[in-house]
Symmetry: D2
Subunit: 304 residues, 4 copies
């Protein structure tokens, strides 16, 4: 039997001894304040084991990781018709590029690039009674933990500086792929991204994607087929233009955020969350990716 | 001596007998109402001749033609430093493409594509006391005619539907190539484009670009060298991605607008304005381009 | 226990009753002659089961499927240094686009787009004594079947019409990412693509990628980590710009060819090959993709 | 009256005192050997004046300047039907980019980017009896000077290293926009580019484009309208992605070559040729462009 605890400890010790830690994202002023030395991992297995090391109980900004949860909620609400407005192909380009959106007539390549996530936010606004409240409750329900909140200062920080997202939303609007007002959609989107969670909370929240759609309190949120689709999307599109690299090095469906978090999972086996705020050049957590690569190599547990 | 009057009459009769007239621009709802059968020409020569045929006294929306006047004013205000924020090369792409702007880090290809004109608007706002009033007075002064105004309904129509321009302005802002607020810059820009003028007024306004910088009431607005530069820009960039075709067929510096107007000029010789609201596939006045091609062919007057 | 036999029979009957079969590739004249009604499947499980239905014993041109075998051999010869000359990211573009190659300075996006496969061919030529003979023997060894050959007529047909591949090879050469002569590399590449195999032979050949690197006659060809990488690449890049769709619908690493073949596999469980010459718009076998989608849905066997 | 002689002397003295001279093109090994200190100007006016300063009698490789002569010959042979196979718009991209050619289905943007010039070469091969001999005689006739030749060493040097041109020609072939063999077309094209001429010979050769189609020995080669078109093309497309800059700074139709030559002309007035082998970052002669800018500024002679 694999000794997860010692493997995680080994990885933790490796990680904190690294001198090259990448760079904390600075384009969102609020995020620039985070201490780069934070490092946490939390592993949750389907057999009931839970292991945390380092700063696994410190909340951080989940940012783009929220896109997976938003997609999940949108599919729960309107099913596969989500994919009439957003495609399912890797973009092959950085996460904020508008060029492709323009060429492809306002249909974002996938729900995990910003323009795609903005379309998903638009769907949620159209289909939730109190979008911000309802979405937060959905996330809280997924992990049976009421202690999860938006960080309004981060949301405001993004609103004040997120001109590229305003550009993307207006471009979507020009292609008639945004039904609500730009301001309203982005207000929701920036809040969604500002949610703060710990590694352990994130591992709990993503449980349903490793468990055929049933969340930790046994409620069914998505069908088996829908879960498979979200996992496929995480694998092919979860890491901006480094998705191939992550599939290649780690071999798990996963999603990163510029706050330094990464959640990855092996269906029917485990969910693992890392947090290390320093990013590599492609915008993914440098030490988080390394830690996950070591984890799948040492445990020989991957989808491939 | 050339008989301009009979040449213009011939061209006019040719034009109004055409059945294929292109399509009136519909993306700005207010413009969609224009009668496609309008057709006017006004020729003003530096030797003092003036000829008008057809609807040369009907005001129309000058739209992108205003970009030349805005550039002229910006150069009058801050000189060649304009070109630190906008390049002088043909874009090789449709007038509203954001892709290139993104690749080239927020420096628009030239002042006549929308993003470039938005940067010029930003410059004017920063350098005029009362931007909208001052700019309108500048245009009125150029042609010594107080009877020129913004069309607020057209400006509002563009504001309500101009999502691509909002996208472009936000993208510029994200690259720090917009100093004022997006809303303020676009309000000015939409008003600038909404100015209504007749063929004769436009020929008068553009007089200074055929007259070494001196406008019709003899006031010097730009240096000889600056005029040369604006004319060069009109020739290489004045017709979206049909600039080469216009240089090739007509052989004059000129500028078109989606309202169906075209102004062209031969330095030291004449200014000619056409108006025909039907556009070709590239967004330039179909019959206007044909009329100008005939004019330079029949008179053998072009820069080449 | 899953009844593979009846599932395959069901899928077979579904498939042959379809009227919409896609279109046989015509850009290679020799391939245009294939009867579109061919349809075969062959399933090989790691527990020793083998099931074939339809035309599973008819040889067809494996075309791009050969790229996986060429990559495998290149990694066997020079290891991970392959990836200094070719990247591992999805291209997000059609399989023959040169634009990206030009922008990215001659480093192909991945080894499964044509330019990437041409670089791999160059590596094989530099590292094999008798490239064509040695590569054919490698493929024969993988499935312990000497009855596999190049189709010289198909190879010649591609040579005479494959101008885009000549363009790609010359572009690679201009970026110094091709060490051997263009003619020599493409002669090898066209032969590699011309190999003819049956569904059963292909399932046997790909056995080593589902079996930790050990081929069917128990010889070790690649390390566990290398196999994981090739499988990851198949998942993210195996279906041109439809890779996301295949991951999403089928959920298995796989590779298609314009000859109408698809090989897919679930590590440690099975290899399945389909053959249906009619292609969809993206160039992948239309009925083959449907068959595999049904197979993973009905068996609930996928990596996700 | 303008004193051309003293203006040219002033420009010459300015030029040779510059320390920043750009860089000699090295991608064609034979050209890399040229002494960067060469500098010549030759002015020929329609009133019969001729002025040469510096190295105006030293032959150099005309390279892309030959594209204008090839286009002239092609139009002489098959008229405007040339433009069914090549467009007339600025490319907005560097001279060797294939991306646009791929997107636009094998129709080059204009006859002065490499792919466009290769199409023109294909037309010449199809329409000349002895292409290389006939084209050389055409150039000799234009300037009434038999002392003009191909440089076979330069042509061979380009053939051995011109992989991007092979890529472009094969891409054209894949789009069926090349009727003759790639090898044959490029052999002609490389020879065409290898022609060596002096500044005075070039000014004589381009005389017909400033003289309504009549060359210096009074033979009519092109119609007035065809000459206008070629001049328009030089203005909008003659300087790779610096065409706008040249129009802007110099204001004359012109064409540069990587050998360091530039020919420019004012219809009905003069032809001026400069030669300075050091190139700027865009591939145009650094001191040549400066000299021409000074010339049009000091003489106030430009098309604008």
């Amino acid at each position: 039997m694999r000794d997860f605890k010692s493997i995680l400890n080994f990885i933790y010790n490796e990680a904190i001894s690294q001198t090259e830690k990448g760079k904390v994202a600075t384009y969102i002023p609020e995020l620039a304040k985070i201490d780069i030395d934070n490092f946490g991992i939390y592993l949750k297995t389907m057999t009931g084991e839970n292991y945390g090391v380092g700063d696994f109980n410190t909340p951080f900004s989940i940012q783009s990781i929220s896109k997976v949860l938003a997609l999940g909620k949108a599919m729960e609400l309107i099913g596969e018709s989500v994919f009439k407005r957003v495609d399912v192909e890797p973009s092959g380009h950085p996460f904020n590029q508008l060029a492709l959106l323009e060429v492809e007539n306002g249909i974002p390549r996938n729900p995990f690039i910003n323009s795609g996530a903005i379309v998903i936010a638009d769907i949620l606004i159209s289909n939730l009674k109190n979008p911000k409240t309802d979405f937060l409750n959905y996330v809280r329900d997924l992990c049976a933990d009421k202690n999860i909140n938006y960080n309004n200062a981060v949301a405001k920080s993004e609103k004040d500086t997120g001109f590229k997202n305003f550009a993307a939303a207006n471009l979507l609007k020009s292609f008639k792929n945004l039904n609500n007002d730009v301001e309203e959609v982005l207000d929701f989107y920036f809040h969604q991204c500002s949610i703060e969670m710990t590694c352990s909370q994130l591992s709990n929240v993503f449980y349903f994607l490793a468990n055929d759609g049933y969340c930790i309190n046994k409620k069914l949120h998505l069908s088996n087929s829908q879960v498979k689709r979200i996992n496929a999307l995480m694998l092919t599109c979860g890491f901006y233009d480094e998705a191939g690299e992550f599939a290649f090095e780690v071999g798990l469906p996963g999603k990163s955020g510029v706050g330094g978090g990464i959640v990855a999972l092996l269906p029917d086996h485990f969910i693992i969350t890392t947090w290390a705020p320093g990013l590599n050049k492609k915008g993914n957590s440098l030490l988080g990716m390394k830690a996950l690569e070591q984890f799948t190599t040492k445990t020989n547990l991957s989808i491939f």
